[in-house]
Symmetry: C2
Subunit: 243 residues, 2 copies
């Protein structure tokens, strides 16, 4: 939470007075041609108005007019493992950070290690995603923009997350298991095909496509930079620049 | 997230100019005795400085000097069921809200219904509290003060929550199962004694007392208002008013 300190108000008063008194003295001189008068009036003004400016600042610090709140929202990236969610979400996150917005990044890879007992059964995955959705919604409610990336293969878990959030933007990474396997650096797809990983979305577990995603990224046809632009454009048009 | 709009800067410029130009005109009149000169200079000043003031405001809007961040923290109320956590936490929450701080309230009674599959086995309770601790820490990291109340009977779960948070204030409701049972409006203690509820802290399940709580409330000896004051006093002294 931010507020303005007294020293900020004092420094503003000084910087303004320097600017303003020079202007006054110049005006008085132009109209009267008297240097001494211009300087005397300027001198008096310094003392009279410096204090006045400080009081004016403190009064305005209490007023809320014109302090605009940027609306928060949740951007939820869903798609098969190795569909590129993480890279895209990171790109969007960086872009919003650059605009000095308050953003939090939630990613499966960061949260799962904190809770090692959470497994990959459909029940565990559903519960995990619901929790992440709840976390995202509470952050959003507190004015924080959330960029979340989770495979989140089940529609019902994503709809739960959507239901808790105020403004939920679902981004679907549209691709195929084959294309993802070719990209997969960790060998997860191969392991799943060999039966070493179970419940693996796209191989031996389901991935339920979103029915009404707000943004669809055609993964094979879209360069990363262009995908970032697509998502940011959607957010600006529909949320950030909407009044 | 908040920022200042252009219209706020415009209105501030107008309100300041009114105040300031009257002062200038009075000074000029006092020194020259000429009403016309005082008004002319005042008139010119209005135009020259109104624009200047607006520009000055916009430049300061970019500067971060003197915009002080209030530190966030997590206040974690722990204690037996019916020890009075919820009432005390609500009281502290209201007090901080009154001071216009950004505060979020997390309570077991609000979160559990969202996740009906979470049970009361030691494993489930531990997992639940770790999740709540994670939620609290992420909020804190984003500048939100968190007021959390959970029985949280296990030391290891509370220490997990403490480890994730930056500034963790543990408030221990010191009382006895007997006193809690006398206060218990829901008949949970009776049900636990009858064996209808299992793993019930203080009856047929453990409650591990905090070893180094930041605040200890002697529940039977302390009125609610006084308990709220004790917690708020601790927060002001150790966090809020500390620079």
């Amino acid at each position: 939470m931010q507020y303005e300190t007294r020293s900020r108000s004092i420094l503003k008063a000084v910087s303004w007075r320097t600017l303003a008194t020079i202007t006054t003295a110049v005006i008085v001189f132009v109209f009267t041609g008297k240097v001494a008068l211009a300087l005397t009036i300027g001198f008096l003004e310094v003392f009279a108005k410096m204090g006045l400016y400080f009081v004016h600042e403190r009064v305005w610090q209490k007023l809320h007019f014109g302090k605009r709140n940027v609306p928060a929202f949740v951007v939820w990236f869903t798609g098969l493992p190795a569909s590129g969610k993480k890279h895209l979400a990171d790109g969007v996150f960086k872009q919003l950070k650059k605009e000095r917005l308050k953003v939090e990044r939630l990613d499966s890879h960061d949260i799962r290690p904190l809770f090692p007992t959470v497994g990959f059964s459909p029940e565990d995955v559903d519960r995990h995603i619901r929790r992440a959705g709840h976390l995202a919604a509470v952050l959003e409610k507190n004015g924080v923009i959330v960029i979340a990336s989770f495979v989140s293969p089940f529609r019902k878990s994503r709809e739960f997350a959507r239901g808790l959030a105020g403004n939920f933007v679902e981004v679907y990474m549209k691709t195929t298991p084959e294309a993802c396997e070719a990209r997969d650096e960790h060998g997860h797809y191969r392991a799943a095909r060999a039966g070493e990983l179970t419940h693996f979305p796209g191989v031996n577990g389901p991935y339920e496509e979103p029915q009404n995603p707000q943004v669809v990224i055609d993964v094979e046809q879209t360069a990363l930079d262009e995908a970032v632009r697509q998502v940011v454009r959607y957010l600006k048009k529909n949320i950030l620049n909407k009044t």
